[in-house]
């Protein structure tokens, strides 16, 4: 044990060096969006504005629950999340954004009371192996058709799938959604924990198709794979091609509302919107910036109109239905 004490001292020093107890210091962002995707953008923001930023990365839902738990005592200034459901569930903690900000983005990608705004869009797609001989789904119900039995990859417990189920609840009601989930469960779906392994599996031919977000394929291609699969944008105009925005809001208790506002404005700036298009392969939501090559225009997608502000109210129901269908 004696030998351990120098080690302890070294470690304590190392920790002290990493400490960050700076009252009133940096802008604190709770980010449900991954560090890999957004940290370069946040670095650009700091360089451009000189505003020091501290980010807490975790899952969007987990951060929303954390914000609710922290309540008024939270240190967070900004909540940057993957989906409207997480944003909506903490809407009561967020302050209304300015007109200048809200008018930049189509109102269907923002909170109806203006407390969060979409920053980039991802589309639900059907990833398929290009060698498949199975007829591609024309609507979301085709994905549970017997012709796809045992061949569809899903991530039933992943945030993006749960947001999609939440949207279906708003579109069709609980009973019809449960029915769809049960049909899916009865069709021997291949369950994965996340989207990226589904895309990888569709690319190798382990499965013929899968329900994912559109940008994972581009990600896989950037890693040097992904040439045996394609995104299929389900044409029927149902939740199968839902555009789900990632978004941002400012916490009412923030002690630096100005810096927070500048960050939100920055996310809607051309710099950031171009970054989303080029680096994360998402849809820019501000006019004048085009999506990555090979993607259909956002207005050309057969995407349904759903009140995204209502997603938060049904998020917990979505998990319950997925569990009832036996997919948890």
């Amino acid at each position: 044990m004696k030998r351990s004490f120098p080690l302890l001292a070294i470690a304590a020093l190392a920790i002290a060096g990493c400490g960050s107890e700076d009252a009133g210091g940096p802008l604190i962002i709770y980010s449900g969006r991954s560090e890999e995707l957004v940290q370069p953008l946040i670095d650009t923001f700091s360089e451009e504005t000189g505003i020091e930023v501290e980010v807490r990365y975790a899952g969007s839902t987990e951060l929303a629950a954390t914000l609710l738990q922290e309540g008024d005592s939270t240190d967070a200034d900004v909540f940057f999340a993957q989906d409207p459901a997480s944003l909506g569930s903490v809407a009561e903690l967020m302050t209304e954004l300015s007109e200048d900000i809200l008018t930049q983005v189509d109102s269907k990608f923002a909170d109806r009371d203006g407390r969060w705004v979409g920053t980039s869009g991802r589309v639900r797609t059907f990833i398929y192996n290009t060698d498949t001989t199975i007829e591609l789904p024309q609507n979301i119900d085709d994905t549970t058709d017997v012709r796809w039995a045992g061949q569809v990859g899903v991530a039933p417990t992943n945030g993006s799938f749960l947001a999609f189920v939440s949207a279906m609840i708003l579109e069709r009601g609980e009973d019809a959604t449960l029915e769809w989930l049960k049909a899916l469960a009865a069709n021997d779906p291949q369950e994965y924990p996340k989207n990226s392994p589904i895309v990888a599996a569709a690319d190798t031919g382990e499965i013929d198709g899968g329900l994912v977000n559109h940008y994972y394929l581009f990600r896989l291609r950037a890693e040097g794979e992904g040439n045996n699969s394609e995104n299929w944008f389900i044409p029927a105009g149902d939740v199968g091609s839902l555009v789900m925005p990632a978004g941002v809001g400012i916490i009412s208790e923030s002690d630096q509302p100005e810096a927070a506002t500048r960050f939100v404005e920055f996310l809607l700036s051309t710099t950031a919107q171009e970054y989303f298009a080029a680096e994360t392969f998402e849809y820019p939501l501000v006019d004048g910036v085009e999506p990555a090559d090979g993607l259909p225009g956002i207005d050309d997608l057969a995407s349904p109109d759903i009140d995204l502000s209502g997603l938060a109210n049904v998020l917990d129901d979505a998990t319950r239905l997925v569990a009832e269908a036996g997919l948890v």
């Binding site: 190392a14 920790i15 991954s34 560090e35 924990p193």
Partner: protein, 530 residues
């Protein structure tokens, strides 16, 4: 099991002076146990006051529970089998390359279970690295088989590390006598060696089994539905955290039942094994036996080390040649190392009093103290994290999102590992030495420094190495409890795999492996001397 000729019952420490010295240990135990007791108790309290309400239908819950139970039993038995076999071969036989195998058998422990699962998937299936090498498609072992294989192979080193010192300290006299009487080496192993290994096997079994219960990474990627996977799903999918907490309590009860059963089968009499430093003759392996031994060790190293590392290197090369950058993570390495080292040292220090009151100084609350350390170990880490967040926000707000609270939680979560190894060391020595020291007028501190700590030392070292590795790999509680911006290597691996950044994930994983190897080498180094 009855105490054979090799065991000596420990007498109850009845002298007034003994009782006084016990009091100090009990106070210390209460202090170090407190943080470990808070999460389980607050969760249990929540269930008592709010009841269990879950969106998952009862039938499905029972299915998940039975699946978890089956996996736990299968993994525990297999990992103990593999770990005992590698320990025996590398310590008791003359298998060629013995010392090298000894290290290689322990190394897979540095690979986190989610990494192990991810690389298994990357190696198999159409387009998998192994499939390409062999020219035949190896199907990906999804479901029970995959989870069982992955967890067994990657947890076997725990058993290897715990059984090795036990094996080395057994007095060879009994075994040699049995051999002299004509017993085969197989018979000697099963009737004499295994019996003496029992306490070590029980510790290793609890460590492996309760780890399996709480694992999320391997089961989720290899697609086997367990209770813990459902709990993670509820946390990730629901804003309301109560249902997940309630289900966690069910897991904790399972752990308590396992501990209770273990205790029922344990011999009543406390005993310590007479240890020796006398050299023994190694068993000579010849002919087929040697071939089998080498095949076994070789395939194990192939599955648990060569395949995962090759897959990581393959992803790295593939990504770099496609123009991906590796990402820099020197800061992450520094943070991972510092919290792991502090937690490892603190856990060792904390485990000494608990190990003392559960071996040498048993009292009325010994069982309770032991149970307390294991209860938290079996909880899914995310549940511990959430419970600590809730507690900290309400009672110790200034500590919320600090490194101090993070490390304290690590110590509470993983202390069971160092308690188990330290108990094992103490059982091998007699408490008489301590009494003699006190009897000769040495003060309590001097006795602690001169007698107790040196005797407990191998266990303290092994325990801190295990805690170090566990903290290096820990993810869910770290995500919830760390200060803002305090990214560790495990967090980097999580965030890059989540979004499909395989190149960076591989680079970070290889860094994690490289850094974790050092304490493991230090641990096995002592064993190599002979």
């Amino acid at each position: 099991m009855t105490a054979g000729p090799i065991t000596t019952p420990i007498e109850k420490d009845a002298s007034p002076q003994g009782r006084r010295s016990n009091r100090g240990w009990w106070i210390a135990t209460a202090v170090v146990l407190l943080p470990a007791l808070i999460p389980p108790i607050s969760l249990a309290w929540q269930v008592v006051t709010q009841g269990i309400e879950t969106p998952i239908p009862l039938g499905r819950l029972i299915e998940l529970f039975l699946g978890t139970l089956a996996l736990t039993v299968a993994v525990t038995i297999t990992a103990l089998g593999i770990g005992t076999a590698t320990a025996w071969l590398t310590n008791r036989s003359n298998v060629p390359g013995r010392r090298l195998w000894m290290i290689l058998a322990a190394l897979p422990l540095v690979i986190p279970s989610y990494m192990a699962a991810l690389t298994i998937i990357g190696a198999t299936g159409p387009g998998g690295l192994l499939s390409i090498w062999l020219g035949v498609e190896i199907p990906t072992p999804y479901g029970f088989v995959g989870a069982w294989l992955a967890l067994s192979v990657f947890l076997a080193p725990m058993a290897h590390l715990i059984v090795t010192p036990a094996l080395r300290l057994i007095d060879p006299a009994t075994e040699e006598a049995a051999m002299g009487l004509g017993a085969s080496s197989v018979k000697v192993f099963f009737t004499i060696t295994l019996v003496q290994l029992r306490p070590a096997l029980v510790s290793a079994g609890l460590m492996v089994g309760l780890y399996t219960i709480s694992d999320f990474g391997a089961v989720s990627l290899l697609r086997f539905d367990t209770f813990t996977r459902a709990i993670f799903t509820l946390y990730a999918g629901q804003i309301d955290r109560r249902p997940a907490a309630a289900l966690s309590v069910v897991l904790m009860l399972l752990a308590l039942v396992i501990l209770f059963l273990e205790r029922r089968t344990r011999s009543r009499a406390g005993y310590h094994l007479k240890s020796t430093s006398r050299r023994r003759k190694r068993i000579r392996l010849t002919g087929w036996n040697k071939t089998w031994a080498l095949t076994f060790l070789g395939s194990l190293v192939f599955i648990a080390l060569i395949v995962p590392i090759s897959v990581l290197v393959f992803w790295l090369i593939r990504g770099v040649s496609a123009g991906q950058d590796l990402g820099m993570f020197w800061d992450e390495i520094g943070r991972s190392l510092s919290v792991s080292i502090i937690a490892a040292v603190a856990a060792a220090a904390a485990s000494l009093p608990i190990a003392m009151v559960t071996t040498w100084k048993r009292g009325r609350f010994s069982n309770a103290a032991e149970t307390g350390t294991w209860a938290i170990y079996a909880l899914p880490h995310i549940t511990v994290g959430v419970a600590v967040v809730a507690f900290a926000l309400q009672w110790i707000r200034p500590l919320y999102q600090t490194v101090a609270l993070l490390v304290l939680t690590y110590v509470a979560m993983f202390m069971a590992q160092s308690v188990a190894t330290t108990q094992d060391s103490l059982r091998r020595a007699s408490s008489d030495l301590e009494d003699a020291s006190r009897g000769m007028g040495r003060g309590p501190w001097q006795t602690l420094r001169r007698i107790t700590v040196p005797l407990a030392r191998p266990g303290l070292l092994a325990g801190s190495a295990l805690v170090f590795l566990s903290v290096m790999k820990e993810l869910p509680a770290t995500l919830l409890l760390r200060p803002n911006g305090f990214e560790t290597l495990a967090i980097r691996i999580w965030s890059s795999t989540g979004e499909g950044f395989y190149t960076r994930a591989s680079a970070a994983s290889l860094a994690l492996l490289a850094v974790s190897i050092v304490p493991l080498l230090a641990l096995t180094y002592r064993d190599l001397s002979d």
